[in-house]
């Protein structure tokens, strides 16, 4: 198991050091600094073995978090824990920075004591932790409060406490998708996938039981076989375009009953209070690619490049894409650039070796073009320019995977509010992930 946990600043000074196991000594702290933080070469692996001691590290801005062990630990667990640790710290004091860590070092030690025992991760849900680890010191709790805390920390529903009350029961549901694309210069899709997240904010009283439904192909097909049900009729009316989507794989927040999903493919859960990520999913079939990038790069002699890039939006004309940014890489020996674009603004950023073309808004089924002349300094470097891909950023108000929320039902048998009384908000946002076209 994890033998120790250290947090360093960018210089390699220790900000937090907590040792859980006898086999980890103070010298481990220095070993990591010397061999990884101060290493001359770029880090080639997130796991380093130095003198039979293994170091796992993640970096958040300038801060290094390192977990140390001498045993054959579950490596995936250690990284998951380090990410969780970052989440917990962020939830307590915001951004992970040297100053915030120094300001909260007592709190961090307290947290480390709680969420890692002898190197075994324990309950690390911030919801539960915040009930008894506070920066204000300990309030004298009543016996009931204490047992409520402990039962929540160790209980089946460790992510929600009892007795939550809201005057207005509200639910916000965001379908956030990122489209990833790798396209060849000839416009052939080399790989494309959508990784989506369903993020919820729930402000519900009591211990509500929720059921979430979407146009999952497996579910729809199953119901279709079952005969003419209302649901299928509804989805035909309501859903435009694709009726159902094939989900390659999905993962759920720990509140979702996985065995139920496995057997019935229904998503039921008691939600945590506030914001959380209900599920993540991935699709690869029938993805709507919101933009198509058509590059044209011509080398005119040894000192000039002509670049023309056309982007075409490919969705309903009534919808608007926002925050469009096209990044056209330029060679390292670029001396000057002249750009002409039909729409938006384009600039050559020498420090980033790229032409950055920004368009605020663009409706569907439109196209726009940029052309640039790049002057190059003559070099004797034999190696050709690697031609990094043209990448793109954007935001569209629909789900490129075609995912649709069919229902989100709330049941709270003990309190007197029903599904109809809950105000629900649903929103779809599609963003670019790694959206690249080779040129």
């Amino acid at each position: 198991m994890i033998g120790g946990l250290f947090i360093y600043n960018h210089k390699g000074e220790v900000l937090i050091s907590r040792v859980y196991r006898d086999d980890i000594g103070r010298n481990a702290v220095d070993a990591f600094r010397v061999n990884v933080i101060h290493a001359r070469q770029q880090v080639r692996s997130p796991v380093t073995n130095i003198a039979r001691t293994s170091f796992f590290h993640v970096k958040r801005s300038n801060i290094w978090l390192a977990a140390v062990t001498k045993q054959n630990v579950n490596a995936a667990m250690v990284f998951e824990f380090l990410y969780k640790m970052c989440d917990v710290m962020t939830a307590y004091f915001g951004k992970i920075s040297e100053e915030n860590i120094k300001n909260n070092f007592v709190l961090i030690y307290e947290l480390l004591d709680e969420i890692l025992d002898f190197g075994y991760p324990q309950n690390s849900e911030t919801g539960a932790l915040k009930t008894f680890i506070t920066q204000q010191g300990i309030k004298s709790q009543t016996k009931e409060e204490q047992s409520q805390i402990t039962s929540q920390v160790t209980g089946q529903i460790g992510w929600r406490r009892e007795g939550i009350k809201y005057r207005r029961n509200e639910l916000f549901l965001d379908v956030l998708e990122s489209v990833n694309l790798l396209m060849s210069p000839q416009g052939q899709v080399l790989s494309a996938h959508v990784s989506g997240r369903v993020v919820m904010k729930s402000y519900l009283s009591g211990m509500p039981e929720c059921k979430f439904g979407m146009n999952d192909k497996i579910v729809i097909d199953k119901q279709g076989k079952g005969g003419t049900t209302d649901d299928t009729a509804k989805s035909e009316l309501g859903g435009s375009g694709k009726q159902s989507i094939a989900i390659d794989d999905c993962t759920f927040h720990q509140c979702v009953r996985l065995s139920k999903f496995d057997s019935e493919r229904s998503i039921s859960f008691i939600p945590p209070d506030g914001e959380y990520e209900l599920m993540r999913y991935r699709t690869t079939k029938d993805i709507i690619l919101p933009f198509r990038v058509i590059p044209l790069v011509r080398e005119v002699g040894r000192t000039k490049l002509e670049v023309k890039v056309v982007i075409k939006s490919n969705f309903k004309p009534s919808l608007l894409a926002q925050k469009i940014e096209v990044r056209i890489p330029t060679p390292l020996n670029t001396s000057g650039v002249q750009v002409i674009c039909m729409k938006g603004k384009a600039k050559y950023k020498a420090s980033e070796n790229a032409i950055v073309w920004k368009i605020k808004r663009m409706a569907g089924m439109k196209e726009s073009q940029i052309s640039a002349e790049i002057e190059l300094l003559p070099t004797n470097d034999k190696k050709k320019w690697a031609r990094p891909p043209i990448s793109m950023n954007f935001e569209v108000p629909f789900a490129p995977s075609g995912l649709k929320v069919r229902y989100l039902k709330v049941f709270e048998p003990k309190l007197n509010y029903s599904d109809h009384d809950v105000i629900k908000w649903v929103r779809y946002i599609g963003r670019s992930g790694i959206y690249e076209t080779r040129c």
């Binding site: 770029q42 997130p46 579950n74 160790t154 080779r438």
Partner: protein
């Protein structure tokens, strides 16, 4: 709020100041001071001098302050053991605090203080906390047992904490269960044989229930623990798999990987033709792909594991090539790993895409990555023959870029392509030669020189090219020097007239001016060869080279198997067994995938019969013919080498190969060994057919109990084993088929040990020595447990009786019939093969008596399709006598029922591979015919069990 100020005190006399503040009356000031102390401690300053003052602050109502003091104590108690005792009282008091958070805090901290005197005081509070009413305290106490065990293992055992910990596995709170499992697993690792975890179907069931309810971390502990369990049969492993698969949708990647580990391991036990097996394979791919959208560090862990999974079961991800395409912004460690997996998945179906990608990568910035991409193109050419031409032209394109390291790497892989497809792509040599000057790395230079030497006859100016290298001969690395020497000798043999001078020059450089012994020796050898017999030299130097194999960097199968059992852990990241990087005894146990039981393996699927589950891809194994000879010589020559090997991997490998050889020999009545082949498969079959011819054994009056039986049999003293009926020896290998060696033999089970009794007779004219024996893989993994003990040479007409103890841990392969055993015996004259059949009762183990309830449940559980009925005729025994007689052969009567004058005997048998056979025998008084119903999860064995019944009852 601004605690950062505590980090900045650098004044002199700081300790003294702190001391004063710690002893201040004001609570706030005290707390401030303790914070300063902790800050100094963090930075690495020694503040142990403040020990008594800090401990004085311990008695406080302020929980925050208390926690800080505890933190200090954990750090310094070891260096100040005497003073640490001061803290004991507070700890003990806190352990009784009404607030469960404080109770837990106290017991948690106390466990972290490694001072003997404190440990003594820990026992009582810990015992209480383990039974605390609050689950939070119990889950903390569970981990504390592991802490205490780390400090003083004996104490934990003496105090009976292990039993309490075991009880916690049945706790009502899932988190307590999870922590108890974690603690027990850790303790069990330091006692490899303690059976501490005592996993049985009941506890497994409890764990699976807790799995659904506990935190993500708890799920990991439980899954990792489950992975160490070996299910009793395929049914059980299927039901566990079914309950584990939902975990594949968990958001936590570690939960997913641990679930994959359990599934990969237990899948081995499932029959391959089962529908569920296919379903499971399909379910594994999507979650593995999803892992690649995690953060880069986790991607790296996932990719290292996928690399193992792809080697073990390529079918899982064979359609998922695209997800391993490298993204421009991936960290370099992710890129390199993806590349590795791409090559493993490359096949004829996707090669075009892969090549296009690799070509793209070859123009990237990172040198290591580019090199690996170029090398990958070469590996594709070698792996997928159809693509070779395209790969070569891609490599040529890359060479045209003139990027130094790309060119060098390309030349190194082209050399390998030449080795794989000789005389096919020589047209590219001209292009290669153009780049001679830019090569500065030894490996590339050596590869180029090899190419020039190998194809010297087609390169007009080969002599000039090689001569140019010769100028700086002494500055080259050894690799290049050796290659240059060989290449010039090759050139000389091909074009002797114009290169005499050159060869003289290189030979003198190598032999006279070099101080490298390898180089010198090779030089001398060539020199002598050339001067004494140029024809022989030609044969040696220009001999045809064996082709290189397709996959070069596969992980060795036994290691792979072990690593599969460690999926998700560091071992799987390093691709090394834990013993390679973990100190001490911890975690050094070798884990194995449970073998698919021979009889469970279905006969229907033909591929199963051919290749065992863990067999290495056949591509690695060179042609069988000469190998068989090699192996037989190597492995059978001195009898001592067949002693059960310490390294099971070695033994396994050897057996596999031998098995393959034997198979082919037996199958097609090989021409090469012709008459040497011993018993044909039909030989041994006589044994099963003629059991009635056996004389009455002493076992005819069966012993009642085991112990008594021993005495009884000894009294009889005719060398009969305990009640086990031994078939008289039959002729296995006739002398005429084995150059005068005659072998007859039989099998026996004596006191739980399986023995093969043989009489070896020398019917030849000369003395026989150097006996050794080896078995082909067989249905139940029978293998010699020791060497064949024929110590004195066997003179003509002499007979010697030997008893060979057998183990059942050998490699398994289903045979037809099931009890067939193929044997190879070697002596100084030759190797002989024969096959024989053993009675299945050989494998009935002594602890085969099932609990009644279990029997009932199992009987119901086995589908009726698996039931087989037989008639045993002409038995004149009453049911008790029969039951006694059967018990001698480890067929246990569990219950007896009399219905309408019919005695029903319920019997159980357990085979060495833990397969249970259940039987119901109906005996009607006065009727000499018994009815026998046999039920078993592996119905194939029924027939053979019936034969045992008949054999035992009739003799």
């Amino acid at each position: 709020m601004t605690d950062s100020k505590y980090f900045t005190t650098t004044k002199k006399g700081e300790i003294f100041e702190l001391k004063a503040e710690l002893n201040s009356d004001k609570k706030e000031k005290k707390k401030e001071a303790v914070k300063k102390v902790i800050a100094s401690m963090t930075v690495g300053k020694d503040v142990s001098a403040l020990f008594p003052d800090v401990v004085n602050c311990m008695q406080t109502d302020n929980l925050e302050l208390k926690k800080l003091v505890y933190l200090y104590l954990m750090n310094y108690a070891k260096s100040q053991p005497d003073m640490a005792i001061m803290a004991v009282n507070t700890f003990v008091k806190d352990c009784e605090d009404p607030n469960p958070l404080i109770r837990a805090l106290a017991v948690r901290t106390m466990g972290c203080i490694r001072v003997d005197k404190i440990t003594e005081y820990l026992c009582e509070p810990l015992r209480k906390c383990l039974k605390d009413e609050d689950p939070y305290v119990r889950k903390t106490a569970a981990v504390c047992v592991a802490k205490l065990h780390d400090i003083n293992a004996q104490l934990v055992e003496d105090q009976g904490f292990l039993d309490t910990l075991k009880d916690l596995i049945s706790d009502s709170n899932p988190m307590v269960v999870a922590n108890a499992v974690a603690a027990l697993s850790e303790i069990a690792e330091s006692h490899p044989n303690s059976n501490l975890l005592d996993l049985n179907p009941q506890t497994i069931n409890k764990l699976l229930t807790a799995l659904n309810e506990c935190t993500e971390w708890g799920q990991i502990f439980i899954l990792d623990c489950l992975a160490n369990y070996t299910p009793r049969d395929d049914r059980e492993s299927q039901s566990i798999c079914e309950r584990v698969t939902p975990r594949l949708s968990h958001a936590n990647s570690a939960v997913v990987l641990s679930a994959v580990k359990v599934l990969m391991k237990f899948m081995e036990m499932l029959p391959k033709d089962l529908d569920y097996y296919g379903t499971l394979l399909k379910k594994l791919a999507p979650p593995l792909v999803t892992l690649l959208s995690a953060e880069p560090e986790l991607q790296y862990v996932a990719l290292r594991n996928i690399n193992l999974i792809v080697q073990k079961r390529p079918e899982i991800l064979k359609h998922e090539m695209k997800v391993f395409f490298v993204k421009y912004n991936d960290p370099i460690y992710v890129k390199l790993e993806k590349l590795d997996i791409m090559i493993r998945l490359a096949s004829q179906a996707n090669i075009a895409q892969v090549l296009a990608e690799l070509k793209e990568y070859a123009t990237e910035v990172d040198v290591d990555f580019v090199r690996k991409a170029v090398r990958a193109i070469g590996r594709c050419a070698i792996k997928v023959e159809q693509s070779a031409e395209r790969c070569v032209s891609t490599l040529l394109d890359l060479i045209q870029t003139k990027v130094n390291y790309v060119v060098q790497e390309a030349i190194v892989v082209i050399k390998d392509i030449f080795r794989k497809y000789p005389n096919k792509y020589e047209s590219v040599i001209a292009t290669l030669c153009e780049n001679l000057d830019s090569l500065d790395e030894p490996e590339a230079r050596a590869a180029m020189i090899w190419i020039v030497g190998e194809y010297a006859e087609r390169i007009d100016n080969a002599d000039e090219l090689l001569e140019s290298f010769l100028e700086g001969f002494h500055d080259e690395s050894t690799q290049v020097q050796l290659q240059l020497l060989t290449a010039i000798v090759k050139l000389f043999l091909k074009k002797p007239t114009e290169t005499q001078e050159l060869v003289q020059q290189v030979l003198s450089l190598a032999t006279q001016d070099s101080d490298n012994p390898d180089l010198r020796d090779r030089g001398y050898i060539y020199w002598r060869l050339l001067s004494t017999d140029p024809v022989a030299a030609k044969e040696v130097v220009l001999a045809e080279k064996p082709l290189i194999s397709e996959e070069t960097d596969l992980i060795e199968p036994t290691l792979l198997e072990e690593l599969i059992c460690h999926i998700g852990t560091l071992a799987s990241v390093y691709h090394k067994p834990p013993s390679a990087f973990v100190e001490g005894s911890r975690g050094v146990q070798h884990r194995r995938i449970p073998p698919r039981a021979g009889s469970v393996e279905s006969a229907e699927s033909p591929e199963v019969g051919q290749s065992g589950p863990s067999e290495a891809p056949s591509a690695v194994i060179p042609s069988q013919g000469d190998l068989l000879g090699d192996l037989l010589n190597l492995d059978l020559a001195p009898p001592t080498t067949t002693v059960p090997s310490v390294q099971p991997s070695m033994q396994m490998g050897a057996m596999d190969l031998l098995g393959g050889g034997l198979d082919s020999l037996m199958g097609d009545e090989s021409d090469t060994l012709g008459g040497d082949i011993g018993g044909s498969p039909s030989m041994g079959a006589g044994l099963g057919a003629a059991p009635t011819a056996m004389p009455a054994a002493l076992g005819g009056v069966p012993p009642v109990g085991g112990g008594l039986g021993d005495l009884f049999d000894l009294g009889g003293g005719v060398g009969m084993p305990t009640g086990f009926y031994v078939v008289p020896k039959t002729l296995w290998l006739p002398a005429m088929k084995a150059k005068g060696l005659e072998i007859s033999g039989t099998f026996a089970r004596r006191g739980g040990i399986i023995q093969m009794d043989m009489s070896l007779t020398n019917k030849a004219m000369s003395v026989m020595t150097d006996f050794a024996i080896q078995f082909n893989r067989n249905s139940f993994g029978l293998a010699p447990a020791g060497p064949l003990q024929v110590l004195t040479p066997l003179s003509p007409n002499q007979t010697i009786d030997v008893s060979l103890p057998l183990s059942t841990t050998g490699p398994v392969m289903k045979m037809e019939p099931l009890n067939n055993l193929q044997v190879a015996v070697k002596n100084n004259i030759d190797v002989f093969y024969f096959s024989c059949q053993f009675p299945l009762s050989l494998l009935f183990v002594e602890d085969g008596k099932m609990e009644r309830q279990v029997f009932l449940a199992t009987w119901k559980d086995i589908p009726n399709d698996n039931e087989a009925q037989f008639q045993i005729k002409d038995i004149h025994l009453n049911s008790d006598a029969a039951s006694n007689k059967l018990q001698g052969s480890n067929i246990f009567t569990i219950a007896k029922r009399t219905v309408e004058g019919q005695d029903m005997l319920y019997q159980s048998i357990k085979l060495t591979n833990s397969i249970w056979v259940l039987a119901e025998m109906r005996v009607q008084t006065g009727n000499p015919n018994y009815t026998l119903s046999i039920k078993c999860r592996a119905p194939e064995v029924c027939q053979f069990v019936y034969q045992c019944y008949e054999m035992v009852l009739k003799n």
